[in-house]
C-alpha cells in the first residue's frame, strides 16, 4: 500500500467540515434506519461495507478517471448511465454542485471553468477527481466519504455511540484503501469501459427516501 501522505486538497475535500453541503446527505442510511434495516453497530458495519464495495467503488473509479485529463462530458454521461436512481443522481449532483461553489473560490482553474460551463452541477466524483489530480487520493476521498457520511448520519439518527461508530469506520479503513487502490488503476480507462457496480437496495432506499422526503419531514436530503 502506498504510504505517501495525501495532499492537503484531498484532506480538505474529505473533511466533514468542508463547506460542500455533504452533511445534508445520509447515503440511504436514513431510509435504512427508518425500515429497521440498520439498528446497531453490526448492521451499520454491514450497510457500510456493501455501500463501499458498490456505490463507493463506482465513485472511486470515476474520481480516478477524472484526474486523467480525459473527456469529462463522457464521464458525466457514463456516471449517469451507472446511476439509474434519479434520487441518487440528484444527490450526487447536489454534492458536486456544493464542491463546485467552494472550488471556484479555493481552486480556480481553466479546467474547472470548462467543466462548470458545460455542467454547472457536476457529479461529485468527477469534480473531486478534477481537483485532486492524484488518482489514488481522489479515489480515496470519495470512497472514504461513501462510508463516513452515512456513519455520522447513523450517530444522529439512531443515537449510536460515536466511539463505537468510529471503531466501525476504523475497521473499514483497509477496505477503503483497497477500493481506492483498485480504482486508481482506472485513471486512463476509457469512460465507457469503467466499472459499473450496482447496488439495487441502495437504489430502492434512495427512491423511497425521496418519496418520504416529499411527504413528511426527513432530517437528510438523501
Amino acid at each position: 500500500m502506498d504510504a505517501a501522505p495525501m495532499d492537503a486538497t484531498a484532506l480538505l475535500l474529505a473533511d466533514s467540515r468542508f463547506p460542500g453541503g455533504g452533511h445534508a446527505h445520509s447515503g440511504g442510511l436514513e431510509e435504512a434506519a427508518a425500515r429497521g434495516l440498520v439498528t446497531d453497530e453490526p448492521s451499520l458495519a454491514s450497510f457500510l461495507l456493501g455501500r463501499l464495495r458498490t456505490a463507493g467503488a463506482l465513485a472511486a473509479a470515476f474520481a480516478a478517471a477524472a484526474t486523467g485529463g480525459g473527456d469529462l462530458g463522457a464521464l458525466d454521461a457514463e456516471f449517469d448511465a451507472r446511476t439509474p436512481s434519479p434520487a441518487q443522481r440528484a444527490a450526487s449532483r447536489a454534492q458536486g454542485g456544493g464542491v463546485a461553489r467552494a472550488a471556484r473560490r479555493a481552486w480556480p482553474s481553466a479546467r474547472l471553468d470548462a467543466l462548470l460551463a458545460a455542467q454547472p452541477r457536476p457529479h461529485h466524483p468527477v469534480i473531486v477527481g478534477l481537483l485532486v489530480r492524484d488518482p489514488r487520493d481522489a479515489a480515496r476521498v470519495v470512497a472514504y466519504l461513501a462510508v463516513t457520511g452515512p456513519a455520522s448520519a447513523a450517530v444522529r439518527l439512531l443515537g449510536l455511540d460515536p466511539l463505537g461508530v468510529n471503531a466501525v469506520l476504523a475497521r473499514l479503513a483497509g477496505e477503503v484503501d483497497a477500493v481506492a487502490a483498485d480504482a486508481a488503476r482506472h485513471a486512463r480507462t476509457a469512460p465507457e469501459d469503467l466499472p459499473a457496480p450496482g447496488s439495487p437496495a441502495l437504489d430502492l432506499l434512495a427512491e423511497a427516501h425521496d418519496r418520504h422526503h416529499r411527504e413528511e419531514v426527513r432530517l437528510f436530503a438523501s
Binding site: L37, G50, A201, E207
Partner: protein, 227 residues
C-alpha cells in the same frame, strides 16, 4: 436464424402467433452453462421488425469439470422502427458456479427494447456461487450500464446491496415515452434513466414475487398497454 448447441432458437408457428411480431423461444438443448462454457448469442432486429425472444426454462449456472467459470454474452442490435422484447427465464446461480453474464444492446434512434433479467441466489437452501451480470444499453451514448455481483455473503446480506433477499429482478424499458416521475414501493421501483429509457428493479425472497413486482412496476410505464 442460426442455432448452435446448446442455444437452440425455436420459431413459434402455432396458432397463437400474432401477426404483428415474430416469437422465438430460446431453448437450452443441453445442461448449460457449465464451468468452461463460453456462450454467445447475437440478435439483430432489422428496420421495422418486431421480435419477442422468450426463454422456456430457467438457466442454471453450474460448476463444471473444467477450471474457470462460464460466460454468456448476449449482444443485440435493434434498427430504426424495430423492437425487441428479450424475456429469458431466471438465472439460478448454484453453489460453486462461477458465471459471468453480459447483455449489451445498441438501439437506433426510435428502436424499442424491453429486456428482463431475474437472478436467483442458489436453489432453495443453497448458498449461491459467484455471478457478475452486466446490463448495458446504448443509443448513440450510454443509457444504462449496471453490473451486479452476487456470491460474497457479506455483500449479499448488506442492506445496501441485496439486503439478504434471494432474488433480484431488473427490467429495462426503452419503449416510446418514459415515465415522467419515478414510482416506488419499499422493494420495487420504476425510474426514468438520465438520458432516455427506464429501469424497473425488484428485490424479494422468491422469483414469483419478483416477477409480480416487475409486472406492477411496468404497469406505471406509459407504454404498458403495448406489452
Amino acid at each position: 436464424m442460426r442455432s448452435a448447441v446448446p442455444l437452440k432458437l425455436v420459431p413459434h408457428r402455432g396458432r397463437l402467433r400474432r401477426a404483428d411480431h415474430a416469437l422465438v423461444h430460446l431453448v437450452s438443448a443441453t445442461t448449460a452453462p457449465l464451468g468452461g462454457d463460453d456462450l454467445a448469442l447475437t440478435v439483430r432486429v432489422g428496420p421495422g421488425a418486431h421480435l419477442v425472444l422468450r426463454g422456456v426454462a430457467a438457466t442454471v449456472a453450474l460448476p463444471g469439470h473444467r477450471p474457470g467459470g462460464s460466460r454468456a454474452l448476449v449482444r443485440v442490435e435493434v434498427a430504426e422502427g424495430g423492437s425487441l422484447q428479450y424475456l429469458p427465464e431466471p438465472t439460478v446461480v448454484t453453489a460453486r458456479a462461477r458465471h459471468e453474464a453480459v447483455f449489451e444492446a445498441e438501439l437506433a434512434g426510435d428502436a424499442r427494447l424491453r429486456a428482463r433479467e431475474v437472478l436467483v441466489l442458489g436453489r432453495v437452501g443453497e448458498r449461491p456461487g459467484h455471478l457478475v451480470s452486466t446490463l448495458s444499453v446504448r443509443r448513440g451514448g450510454p443509457l444504462l450500464r449496471q453490473s451486479v455481483s452476487v456470491g460474497a455473503p457479506e455483500v449479499d446480506s448488506s442492506p445496501a446491496c441485496l439486503a439478504g433477499r434471494r432474488v433480484l429482478g431488473a427490467e429495462v424499458l426503452c419503449w416510446g415515452h418514459d415515465p415522467a416521475e419515478p414510482v416506488s414501493r419499499p422493494w420495487w421501483s420504476l425510474v426514468p434513466l438520465a438520458r432516455g429509457g427506464s429501469l424497473a428493479t425488484a428485490l424479494a425472497d422468491d422469483a414469483v414475487t419478483v416477477g409480480h413486482a416487475l409486472d406492477q412496476a411496468r404497469q406505471h410505464h406509459p407504454g404498458s398497454g403495448e406489452f
